[in-house]
Subunit: 353 residues, 2 copies
Amino acid sequence: MTVRMTIDCMGGDHGPAVTVPAAVKFVQHTDDVELVLVGLEQPIQAQLAKLKAQTHSRLSVVPASEVVSMDDSVEVALRKKKDSSMRVALNLVKDGQAQACISAGNTGALMAVSRYVLKTLVGIERPAIATQLPNQTGGYTTVLDLGANVDCEPTHLLQFAEMGYALVSAVGGKERPSIGLLNIGEEIIKGNDVIKQAGELLRASTLNFYGNVEGNDIYKGTTDIVVCDGFVGNAVLKTSEGLAQMLGNMIKEEFERSWLTKLAALVALPVLQRFKHRVDHRRYNGAALLGLRGLVIKSHGSADAYAFEWAIKRGYDAVRNGVQARLERAMEDNKTQLGETGAAQAAPIAPAY
Amino acid sequence: MTVRMTIDCMGGDHGPAVTVPAAVKFVQHTDDVELVLVGLEQPIQAQLAKLKAQTHSRLSVVPASEVVSMDDSVEVALRKKKDSSMRVALNLVKDGQAQACISAGNTGALMAVSRYVLKTLVGIERPAIATQLPNQTGGYTTVLDLGANVDCEPTHLLQFAEMGYALVSAVGGKERPSIGLLNIGEEIIKGNDVIKQAGELLRASTLNFYGNVEGNDIYKGTTDIVVCDGFVGNAVLKTSEGLAQMLGNMIKEEFERSWLTKLAALVALPVLQRFKHRVDHRRYNGAALLGLRGLVIKSHGSADAYAFEWAIKRGYDAVRNGVQARLERAMEDNKTQLGETGAAQAAPIAPAY
């Protein structure tokens, strides 16, 4: 089976200058993939010409006359730009002409247009954004939601857990991935009411629920999946980016302090480069928009071609592993259990003191 | 003026084995300080004997017969252990016999007993926990709340900002420290209702409000102070701890990979040690419990003597700089402005879409 995906070539800070080279490289290295490049024809063709890839048999171009900019409001993206590369790329997924769409466009617009075009899965009120972060075990922790939902009910957190579970059991190679609920302590009595009720729902579910976890557990790898509301997830993700960057700069500063430290840097270079490679955030680029009737992968807006290629790979892996079908099945199973879940929701909550 | 502080010697994972050596070292290096060691007499005296400090003129011991353990509930700490080292140490502050109390005891118990013994300042509904994190500018970002309050109203976030402002203008050497509101984007329309309303209150206040900031701004040092609710603050802080630890371990692993990398480590050792010193989390130990009628500094429970000494220093600096008087004055000023703030609270909020 060939994996067919659309690329929103105009999204991100750099547009076709990044998205097209990444797409070209990806098809050159991966045999069973076809990529549909969507956007303004002229700049896309110019990039293809530059890379001598105009006639590649597994690359095609579908024109779109408008571009959703990085600071366009949801309103503008939805109502004013009906022929945007983002919208056209998503339409192709909706029409069954592609199995996934990759975009580096602005998150709010991408989520809104995806919801509008693809609609949500049965039983999903709120799609969520999930990404993988490296952890101490050498594996990955999948964290969701990362910012699609700033006000969550307990049932939303349960749904995030179900979607994360479907995703990780499909692409993570784990049959029953474990789920942690991000909280300010491990004890059941910790946290606010929403978290406590979400904990009750998760305990009553058939998922492999570990219990509460704390922020440091994300990087310890205590559980395969960490569930939180989008406000917390976004703060945690961006704090991590900021801290990693500061530490990287500090190492650099220390090695640049004098000719002696510069000499030490030369000797340590291979080691430092290996380390840099391991923690290179570009390799973790590509967050999944989960809960829609079609796969959408969101790349970081500032991604370079290397990073964007990783986002394409993320989509490719998801399609190859049948993530969408698994998500749909999980939501169907969930529907049949709904009575049970509803009962659990009404269960008394431990007192808060 | 001599700074007089009480040390809850029984708190933390290691008790007197850590707290007493830290206290001894601190008085040996600082002339104008007197420390009152509170707890079980026998282990405290044993530590003092070991360090030949039993007769130090600026160290005294006040006995307390009970110990609040790291997993005692708030209930037990408050109602069952009325002669705990924590409570006795706080009572001395309340009675004016000391200007601050330093404890590594469990956070929930310390906050509850502090509130009970010291009471909150006029105008403060919720005390908050504030700490300093290093940032890219070479300075510090003061972040609050870190976990005392898991459900905040907009007015609570405003009060956190006022308390952080009073703290940083006293000890941070900045006359009008800037304040950022932690959010998932810089735009005013971002975030949940609580955050949007808190933004309105902050804009209407006389504080030096910068606007919304994101997680990465904490380490960029965009503002002197970052305000958030305790759930988010706790997640952000613990995530940072987890990430820093993982990265530290990864560097170590890379340098231990082979004899060649071990050789490189030898050459790079001075540089790596300087880096390690700069990011040593022990130097940032000591969070302030703000909003009480007395100064309380909370040390990390797992602190070693070096880290606990930093927490003592944090208390010392706060007393020397008159933090408590500033906080009280700030809250008084605030009371007179209350009408204005109330009006701002009723102002219309930007639409959420």
